[in-house]
């Protein structure tokens, strides 16, 4: 056991040494079009394009790490990667444990999505099965405000909620407008948005450990430049044809 521990230690030192040059970026890879696995089996999406852009501008070598959504903050803190770019909204609750760069996608409301033709009475909102992705701002909102009289069904990944909505096992999904709008647009009338807009969370930023002030400064500087010359705007427009700009250009 001791030799095992020591060899583990040696391995640890090696990886610590190697990590000095490479910045590891964590993402989920299951939240189209923010981040997903493309036809080549590689991660792609807005988060990935933004991450690569920032790394290039800041002169950093970056590599992507895939991690499940529900452990994405713990594994950032545990040091398995150095930044989260996973369509993560900047919220006060998350800011208690991690830091964020400035937003690279402006604040986004949350919307209810149903199978087309479903009617839900949003004034009383009772006896409805509401699907959310666990550990999201929507899950927090639903738990705080909608749990009375309704059933909250939590899924580990957003597409799982989508599958359950299609199969009618939940009545409605509460998710980021940017996410559901693209789905509605491509579902050939299968889904529609209903009800009020729900205001939760801020813009989407890159999550960082609080101790990594140097990395935060580098990324923020690169982000400010990418916003100013319109790169971020064009990236958002590329991945979200349904969203209306301009986002950061005046």
């Amino acid at each position: 056991m001791k030799t095992l521990l020591l060899s583990g230690l040696a391995l640890a030192m090696l990886t610590v040494g190697a990590s000095a040059q490479t910045v590891r970026l964590g993402t989920e890879g299951a939240y189209e079009p923010w981040n997903f696995m493309d036809a080549n089996g590689q991660v792609a999406g807005l988060d990935i394009d933004v991450g690569n852009e920032l790394c290039q501008r800041a002169g950093l070598t970056c590599e992507w790490v895939i991690n499940d959504w529900d452990t994405i903050i713990p594994n950032l803190l545990a040091g398995n990667y150095d930044a989260i770019l996973a369509g993560m909204s900047i919220t006060e609750e998350r800011q208690q444990s991690i830091d964020f760069t400035a937003d690279y996608s402006p604040p986004d409301v949350s919307r209810y999505m149903v199978l087309t033709g479903t009617t839900i009475d949003f004034d009383s909102l009772q006896n409805v099965r509401i699907g959310v992705q666990s550990n999201t701002i929507q899950a927090g909102y639903a738990g705080d405000n909608l749990a009375q009289g309704n059933t909250i069904v939590s899924f580990e990944q957003a597409p799982q909620a989508l599958a359950d909505l299609s199969a009618g096992s939940i009545d409605v999904i509460l998710a980021d407008e940017s996410y559901v709008t693209e789905i509605v647009a491509n579902s050939s009338g299968g889904f529609e948005l209903v009800g009020p807009e729900v205001e939760v969370g801020g813009g989407v930023g890159a999550g960082l450990r609080k101790s990594d002030t140097e990395l935060k400064a580098k990324l923020d500087e690169a982000l400010a430049a990418a916003k100013a010359d319109g790169t971020i705007d064009s990236l958002i427009a590329k991945w979200f044809p349904q969203r209306e700009g301009p986002f950061y250009l005046n």
């Binding site: 529900d70 452990t71 903050i73 713990p74 803190l77 545990a78 699907g131 666990s134 749990a147 059933t151 909250i152 069904v153 939590s154 899924f155 799982q160 599958a163 359950d164 199969a167 009618g168 096992s169």
Partner: protein, 248 residues
């Protein structure tokens, strides 16, 4: 907070989640056992079709991971919601983890239990069955009075292990099925607590303690039943149930 307080706090937090694991296991046991008896008799049957089905079922469920069975059956049941469950008005039942969890556990444990019972079935002396027939027993009577008592006594120790394994398998249910409101099981709760303070030793040990304690209770109860089953037989030096993993 000192260590002891932390442990007691965890024990209190995990009491309700533990009930979910107990519920999953015990909801699956009765029907699983019944189905297993049918499968075992099916496998031993002279009817080719029955035998082939039972063999195939047992092989498929014993030959693949429970984790994948959970994923597969959940997504299959989900895709049948609109064509079947919805028109029949049983969506609320079929898609509830509290029904589906035990149902999939039941399908799984039936295969393992059937293999145990089938093994026991083959040890029954031919002479005993023939004696029953000579007494003029019907086939049902032969099963009830000759085959069944023999089979259950032979199979009981292995079945005990299977029930403990089944209980352990409940740890996987909420890794795959959606979580409704705040229905959490032990693993779910342990992971949630771990993600708050990274104290892997504390939370996982308390969860392990719950599993251990409940497993010991299962062993205790099943040993009592075994003594009863064997009460009429002359005492043997060693009639303890030995633990062995999921095989014969």
């Amino acid at each position: 907070m000192n260590l002891l307080d932390a442990i007691f706090a965890d024990i209190a937090l995990m009491a309700r989640p533990a009930l979910f694991n107990i519920y999953f296991a015990f909801a699956a046991i009765p029907l699983g056992f019944l189905f297993a008896v049918l499968l075992a008799l099916g496998k031993a049957s002279h009817n080719r079709l029955t035998s082939a089905f039972s063999r195939g079922y047992i092989y498929a469920f014993r030959g693949s991971p429970f984790f994948i069975q959970l994923f597969m059956i959940y997504s299959l049941v989900l895709s049948l919601n609109i064509p079947l469950w919805r028109p029949w008005g049983i969506s609320w039942l079929m898609l509830s983890p509290l029904f589906l969890g035990p149902a999939i556990l039941m399908l799984n444990t039936a295969a393992y239990t059937a293999e145990i019972l089938y093994g026991a079935l083959r040890t029954i002396p031919k002479g005993e069955v023939e004696a029953g027939r000579a007494f003029g027993m019907s086939r049902l009577q032969q099963f009830r009075f000759v085959t069944w008592p023999h089979m259950i006594r032979i199979a009981w120790p292995a079945y005990t292990n299977e029930v403990v394994f089944l209980f352990h398998a409940t740890a996987l249910v909420y890794f795959t099925l959606p979580v409704i409101d705040n229905q959490q099981d032990l693993m779910n709760k342990a992971r949630e607590l771990f993600e708050r303070d990274y104290n892997v030793f504390l939370h996982f040990s308390v969860a392990a303690g719950y599993f251990l304690a409940i497993s010991l209770v299962i062993f205790f109860i099943f040993r009592r039943i075994y003594r009863r089953l064997m009460a009429h037989l002359p005492a043997e030096p060693d009639r303890r149930i030995r633990y062995a993993p999921r095989w014969l």
